[in-house]
Amino acid sequence: MSSHNNNSASVNDPRQPSAAKPFVAQPVSPQDLPVDYSGFIAVVFGIAGVMFRYKLSSWLAIIFCAQSLANMRNVENDLKQISMAMMFAIMGLVTNYLGPARPGTQS
């Protein structure tokens, strides 16, 4: 700071404790939050994995679930979507790997 005289006005202290306002987190409406693409992709892959019994799709759903989980900002809000995607993904995997039960589930 002293190297450049930017604050040549540092003759007097610029600080004004009386004017200090504590930080107020601005409430962000859910619409303004960035869209959780990975969660959406996870849901899509999860549903596809369950519908077509395509295990790669279910695995991808799990990976995108992990990404969505890693990028989560609002715990209560996002957890719903993620848990849904996770459910689909796990369901897809279960039906895939416990495969012989298929004829029963397929009906």
Partner: protein, 480 residues
């Protein structure tokens, strides 16, 4: 014979069916594909195997009957109770006879199908069925089988490995981001640093030792400061690369992005004159001028004035008037950061700055700065850039437009306000018209419904009339 075999297999079926349910781990697509056929195969398999066992168990007696050792104890045991001396050959023959009869008996009872049907299919089927049965759960024996199982596990292996890598990267990337943010805070917000000297309140919490940084997600950090002349507060937002997210990390290999920090300074209402000013790299400046609303409305690109030191080549200035631009780009700033020489050295992390008293949003008078963040161990590189923030707060806080420029800007703002008002009114009117149209539509629909109801009523009346006409005849006929 065949019929019996079928019945046996049918009886076995329910026994076999649940077995795949219990023996779960059969992931391969091959089993899934062959499942329908597999039914038969498994049936055969089971049937084969069991008869095989029978065979194995029972065949020895066949040989045993011929061979000596086993019959001996039998004969002895049998012979012991019997009178010993008289019939040595007889009991044997007697015994042999029953034994042969028993074998015949056995044959008729259970071996019916076995000797004839089973032996021929045995050798090939046993080998066929045995190998896949072994290879599926254990994934070992034949090279072909292993290749198949490897291929089928490829997806799992890759996805599992990726997931593990993702988790590891999550923790390392998170740590990296936190370190970067902490390095910034340590450099600029601790005791004796720029922000500590300029603001009386630092950090997002309340009290003395409140946390300096607020973490929002894994890659956004916020720093708040307040208690300074001319401004209400300052909010710095660090948007770091998504290092914690392996997928976006990979994506960023293709589309590179930078760590950025942006400062928002909320100026006091009375402390900021009517100023619209922005500076950025040439390309970005053009974009800003077109896209940012207040710049688009009030300001234009300012050409380099002749006969004066000006900002570096790469930069361009957007301002409401030349006067403002000239007053805001002072000698000191040129010397420290934005001059040709200084910018090469200190300005490489500069992205943009934008001052406006007409900022869209709740707070109108704002100063925005946007810088790139250097590495954690090169934080000192951006010291001069960060020092711009308090400098401009003071400069703009003290700045007063000349009366001539002021009248011009005043006119522009009045005009803008009028336009905004007009727009608002238009919007309101539109909304009103929309409402009216909707109401009209509703009414029409209701009318249509009413009319439909009326038509229905009329029809009903007609019908009843006709019924009435028909009724007497009916009665007449009934009367007869």
């Amino acid at each position: 014979m065949h019929g019996i075999y079928c019945i046996i297999s049918l009886l076995r079926l329910p026994l076999i069916l649940p077995s795949p349910l219990v023996f779960v781990p059969r992931p391969t697509a091959s089993t899934a594909d062959s499942h329908f056929e597999g039914f038969d195969a498994e049936d055969d398999d089971a049937v084969d195997e069991e008869p095989l066992d029978h065979h194995a168990i029972r065949s020895p007696p066949l040989t045993q009957s011929d061979s000596q050792p086993t019959p001996d104890p039998e004969t002895q045991s049998n012979s012991d109770p019997n009178p010993v001396p008289t019939s040595d050959p007889l009991p044997q023959s007697d015994l042999q006879k029953p034994s042969t009869t028993t074998f015949e008996y056995w044959d008729e009872d259970e071996f019916e199908g076995l000797p004839v049907e089973q032996p021929p299919p045995e050798p090939p089927k046993v080998t066929e069925n045995a190998t896949p049965d072994d290879s599926d759960p254990k994934t070992t024996p034949k090279p072909q089988e292993t290749a198949v199982s490897k291929k089928s596990f490829m997806v799992e292996i890759i996805c599992g490995a990726f997931l593990i890598a993702f988790v590891i990267n999550y923790f390392t990337g998170k740590r990296e981001n936190e370190n970067l943010a902490l390095a910034w805070a340590a450099k600029f917000a601790t005791k004796g640093s720029i922000f500590e000297k300029n603001f009386s309140l630092l950090g997002v919490g309340e009290g003395e030792d409140s946390p300096l940084l607020l973490k929002e997600g894994q890659n956004v950090f916020k720093f708040y400061a307040s208690g300074r002349r001319y401004c209400q507060g300052l909010l710095a937002t660090m948007e770091l690369k998504s290092r914690h997210d392996l997928i976006s990390k990979l994506f960023n290999l293709v589309v590179p992005c930078k760590d950025e920090i942006s400062f928002e300074v909320y100026m006091n209402e009375e402390a900021m004159d009517q100023v619209v000013f922005a500076m950025a790299k040439k390309k970005a400046a053009k974009g800003m001028q077109k896209e940012v609303r207040d710049l688009q409305r009030f300001a234009g690109l300012v050409a380099n004035p002749s006969g004066r030191k000006w900002v570096a080549e790469e930069l361009s200035v957007i301002s409401e008037s030349k006067e403002v631009a000239g007053d805001l780009i002072t000698e000191a700033v040129l010397e420290q950061v934005f001059g040709d020489k200084a910018f090469e050295k200190y300005g490489k992390d500069f992205i943009s700055m934008h001052f406006s008293d007409q900022h869209p949003g709740t707070h109108k008078k704002m100063l925005l700065f946007k810088f790139g963040l250097p590495d954690a161990n090169r934080m000192a590189d951006m010291t001069r850039l960060v020092a711009l923030v308090p400098y401009y707060i003071d400069l703009i806080g003290r700045y007063k437009l000349s009366s001539q420029a002021r009248s011009k800007t005043e006119a522009a703002r009045v005009k803008a306000a009028q336009e905004a008002y007009k727009e608002l009114q238009n919007a309101r009117q539109e909304a009103l018209q929309k409402k009216k149209a909707e109401r009209k539509k509703m009414l029409e629909e209701a009318e249509a419904k009413l009319s439909a109801d009326a038509v229905r009523k009329k029809e009903a009346k007609d019908r009843t009339r006709q019924m009435k006409k028909a009724m007497p005849r009916m009665k007449m006929t009934r009367g007869h």
